[in-house]
Structure formats: structure tokens, C-alpha cells
Amino acid sequence: MVVLREGMCPGLDEDLLRDLCAADIKTVEDLVSSDIEGLAQKCSVSYKALFAIRRVLLAQHTAFPVSGADLYEELLSSTAILSTGNPSLDKLLDSGLYTGEITELSGGPGSGKSQVCFGVAVHISYQLKQSVIYIDTTGGLAASRLLQMLQAETSNTEEQMEALQRIHVFRLFDVYALLDCLYSLRSGGLQQASVGGGSVKAVIVDSVSAVISPLLGGKQNEGMSLMIQVAGALKTMAKDFNVAALVTNHVTRSGSGEVQPGLGVSWSHIPRTRILLERVEKAAAVSQPSLRSAKLIKSSRQPCHIKEEFDLQWWSRSEKGSSGKRKLGETDS
């Protein structure tokens, strides 16, 4: 709802505004939807002048149609695919994270969602030399873990520091701070973050359900509305700035007992691609505790329900042995 104000367009002066208010026309939508002839008579202003004002206001506030051919040309030149660093995951995602889309990783506790996010961030910042925005809402990000992953890639401390500098971390713990952060990133934050290293190519939110699920349920609608606003802000940022958005989600059990991603049906339409992470339950997995299985549950490019197994230690593969999982605790400060 855009409220009519004086000086919004040539011809909209104080007197006209007062007359329009008296005729119950307070917003641009009211003016555009009303009958211009009748209104011109009521406000004693010429039909031509009011029609011109309507046309200018409509042109200012409407969305402009773009031809399909131009849109396609634009997308061809700006869409990129970012590899996650793990070939099994890349195979599942049809070669990686696509810019302009939201990809969702869901899984139970300890299924490796945060580890995958760290791995992706490190790969993009070190191998692809691009910046990453990491929004941490659970407090699970430890820079020492990122450094450990980088140390497995290179032993040059300068390169490690450079790569770490390209990962910009924001720590927030409620949905209003998240919305604030996303809006400020859209209106200049992303340009600022790109000044140091390469341009920002990925925004990782770990996890989006931690700030939204406490608000859902009950009779009020604010939680759902805030969830849709977060989704809208992420999608607009992904499209306008050509970044890939990666979010993590928790899981719940459906009525028939099977595991499904959380945040409900209304959220399920938002991400373009969804992956469910699970621990691997078989005898051979005992010797490899960092083995995880990823199942593709929603994709517009691949047939669904294909599974891939991968090792969480892939991003920190070194000869040191079982120092992969953060939970093992020896390397945490």
C-alpha cells in the first residue's frame, strides 16, 4: 500500500490531496482503481489532469514487463553453477549450487548439515576465490573448524587467511535480526562485502528453521508471514545479485512415521532443490562414522529420490585420521 503524498508526481499538490482524502482516496491503489470521471467531478479538477496523474503514478509503481528473449539473454550471461567441493553432492545437485535459487539441506541432529555448509563455504572461498556470506543462527560456527578445513587444502598461511577473510560471518538469533540483515545486505551490504576479495557468490543461512520454527503453530499468523518474508528476501537477493542461497532445515516425522523436512507445507514450495541428509545405518559404516547419505527429495532437473553416499571428511581430507567431526572435540578451543 503506497500512501499518496504531496509532490509524488507533477500536479499532485496539497489541495488536490485534501480533496482526494475527502473522497476516501488515500493510496495509489485506491486512485488507480477508482472511476476517474466521477472523481474528477467530485474533486473539481479536470479529467485530463487526473488521468495524467493516474498514468504517472501507475508507471512509477508498477512492475514493467520484460520480453522473454531479453530475460533469457540476461540469464544466460549471469547464471553460474558453484561446485560444492564434494563430487557426490555435485552429482546429486546436477553439478552444483545454481545462482538465483534457494537450495535446502535438511537433516536430523548430527546429520552433518553444518559440516556441509562449512565445506561449501571453504570450497567457494578458497578454490573459486569468491566471497561467501555465512549467517549463523545456531551458534555452531567455529572459525577454528574453517581453518582446519583450509589447512587440509593448503599449508600456506597467507592463502588460508585470505580465504578466511572472504567468508563474512553474521551471528543472529531471531527472525527480525535475520530480516534486518537480509535487507541491509540487499541495499549495499553485498557490494561492501565484495570490496575485499571476489564478488559474493553464495549466501548460507544455517539454520533458517532455528529462528522460524519457534514462531509457528498456534492461532496467530505472524510466524507464517515472517517465514514468507524471509523467503521473499532471500529469493530477491538470489535473483538480483546472482548468488546461490543455501539454507538448512530441521526434520520432523510425518503422520505415517517417515522423516520429512520441517517448517511445513508452505515452506516446501520455496526452495527449488531439497536434499535430506541421514546417517548411514549399516555394518560397514561403523568403521567410518563420518559417512552420510543424501537423498534428493525435490528437484526440477533430476529424477527425485536418488541417493548418494558421501564422507563428511571429504572437505578436510588429510592424513591425520579421524579428526573430521567437530563433535570429537580435540581440535575445538
Binding site: E29, H61, G68
Partner: protein
């Protein structure tokens, strides 16, 4: 409201009727007539967007490739248009039809028939529909408006409306009323997707989750309702052994169509699966074969 001579002519000139848009989906003469509104309703992953792309391709393709050659406006409310996917479907259809091989020019001319517009709120949707009226007058080939999706602002409007249902539904009602006027005046057709917000669960019946939850003005406009659903593949396969088989098995989507023809409710079902070239409708015998394999 007075209009110029050009506008009057643009209004009265007959626009292409889309009754024959997809005979495998709308058999006989049950297709969408001029002034019809088709709503595609379903949960996520049930093939609504695929179906929309299929119908869109059918509209913009040249007649030589089996299309209708009409202009289409795509109103996108939740950034869900996958342009590269759409172009790959168009490409495969063009190369299948034209013997000389699809060239860039043919693709460009198809894409130039598509007008894309993005709205980020229901107020902007209302203003954009007003603006589209001028586009409709100036392009007599424009016969279809696609809205994906009409339910994108549902929760935001409900929260903004506060406690009164009328205020919550006010914005979408105004959009629906304006759409109704455009349908009457310009004789176009509208296709819209609507995301389901309730899953059929153990406690609620399936009809509960299929009921339309948008405002009454919109429900009154809808003439054809397509309920999309997905048949679940069998879950009782061992993970290793079934790996390849799962990938080769086709996911079948079902569409249950309902419309009113001379006050009588008519309904029928069709099935399709999604391939590289887009949507492939299954005949009844193929459907049974796939079901038996599962």
C-alpha cells in the same frame, strides 16, 4: 469509462480461443473457453509448474511446430520461473518438429511472444494488472495470462489484515475483481497455480486439503480446477539393489480435472510423467503398465 476507437477495436477483436490447448488434458470440448480461469492446485513436487511450462510452450510455439502462436503474459509472484528449463523444453520441441534443425531465430521469435513481469506484493499485483490493461489493448495477439502463483501473498496478507477476514482478503479480492473485468472485456484466458497449504494427514480427510482457501471472489472466477498429485514410488526396496532401478522408474503425476458444464459438475483424470522434453501424457494402458511395475 470512455475509450478511444483503437481501444474499442482491440477489445472487440476476437482473441485466439484456447479450447484446443491440450486435448490430452482437456478432452473433447471441455477445454478452457474465452474468459475461463484454470486453477492448478497441489502440493509441492506434484508437477504444477511442469504442466504450466508445457501449456506455455504450446502457446508460443509456431504453428509449424504444433503451437498456437499466441502472446502470453507470465506474472511471476515468487521467482519460480526457471527460464533455462523452459528454453530447453522449447528447444527440444522445436528440433523435434522442424526438419531443418532448430535455429536461434525460431527460438527468439517464440521467446519474444512471452512477456514476463514480476510482482513482489499483492498491491503491486493490483497495479500491474491495471497496467496490463494498456498492454492488452495494444497487443491483440495476447490471449493468455499465466499467474505463478496466485497464493504467494496469502500469509503476508493474512497477517497484514489483522483480525478481520475481510481486510485479510481485501487485496486478493480486488485483484480477482479486476481480473474478472479484464476477462469479460478482453476475452482472454487465465491459468494460475495455487500451492496447497495443508497436507492430507491422518486426522484430516483428503477433501480438506484439496479445498480452496483463497478469497471468494477468486473462487467464483475459477472455471476449471486441476488437482495435481504424485503417485509415491514403492518404498520397499533395498537401498543398494534398487539404486539403478529407482532412477529408471518414471514418476507418475496425476491430474484430476473438475469443471462445470451447463451446471453439471464434470470431472476426469489424466496422468503424465516428466521427461527431458517436458511433459508426456500417458494413455490409460501405459498408466496401468507403470502402476503394475510399481
Amino acid at each position: 469509462m470512455s475509450e478511444s476507437g483503437a481501444q474499442l477495436l482491440a477489445r472487440l477483436e476476437a482473441r485466439r480461443c484456447l479450447k484446443d490447448i491440450e486435448p490430452r488434458l482437456f478432452p473433447e470440448d471441455r477445454g478452457p473457453d474465452q474468459g475461463a480461469v484454470v486453477e492448478l492446485f497441489g502440493l509441492e513436487g506434484t508437477g504444477k509448474t511442469e504442466l504450466l511450462y508445457h501449456l506455455l510452450c504450446r502457446c508460443v510455439l509456431p504453428e509449424a511446430a504444433g503451437g498456437l502462436e499466441v502472446d502470453v503474459v507470465f506474472v511471476d509472484t515468487d521467482y519460480s520461473l526457471d527460464m533455462l528449463h523452459l528454453v530447453s523444453i522449447l528447444d527440444s520441441k522445436l528440433s523435434a518438429a522442424l526438419l531443418a534443425g532448430a535455429d536461434e531465430a525460431a527460438l527468439r521469435s517464440c521467446l519474444s511472444r512471452l512477456l514476463f513481469v514480476h510482482c513482489y506484493s499483492s498491491s503491486q499485483l493490483l497495479l500491474t494488472l491495471h497496467f496490463l490493461e494498456t498492454t492488452l489493448s495494444s497487443r491483440p495477439a495476447l490471449a493468455l495470462i499465466l499467474i505463478d502463483s496466485i497464493s504467494a501473498f496469502y500469509w503476508v496478507d493474512r497477517c497484514e489484515g489483522g483480525a478481520s477476514y475481510t481486510k485479510q482478503e481485501e487485496k486478493l479480492s480486488r485483484c480477482a475483481e479486476l481480473l474478472g473485468r479484464l476477462l469479460r472485456d478482453y476475452r482472454i484466458t487465465v491459468f494460475a497455480t495455487c500451492h496447497a497449504i495443508r497436507r492430507p494427514g491422518v486426522s484430516s480427510s483428503s477433501s480438506d486439503s484439496e479445498r480452496s482457501y483463497l478469497c471468494r471472489s477468486w473462487q467464483r472466477l475459477v472455471t476449471h480446477r486441476l488437482l495435481c498429485s504424485r503417485q509415491e514410488p514403492g518404498n520397499n526396496m533395498a537401498a543398494e539393489g534398487g539404486h539403478d532401478q529407482e532412477q529408471r522408474r518414471q514418476q507418475i503425476f496425476t491430474v484430476h480435472c473438475t469443471t462445470f458444464s451447463s451446471r453439471v459438475k464434470v470431472s476426469w483424470s489424466s496422468s503424465f510423467c516428466v521427461t527431458e522434453a517436458g511433459v508426456e501424457f500417458l494413455s490409460a494402458s501405459e498408466e496401468n503398465k507403470c502402476a503394475a511395475r510399481q
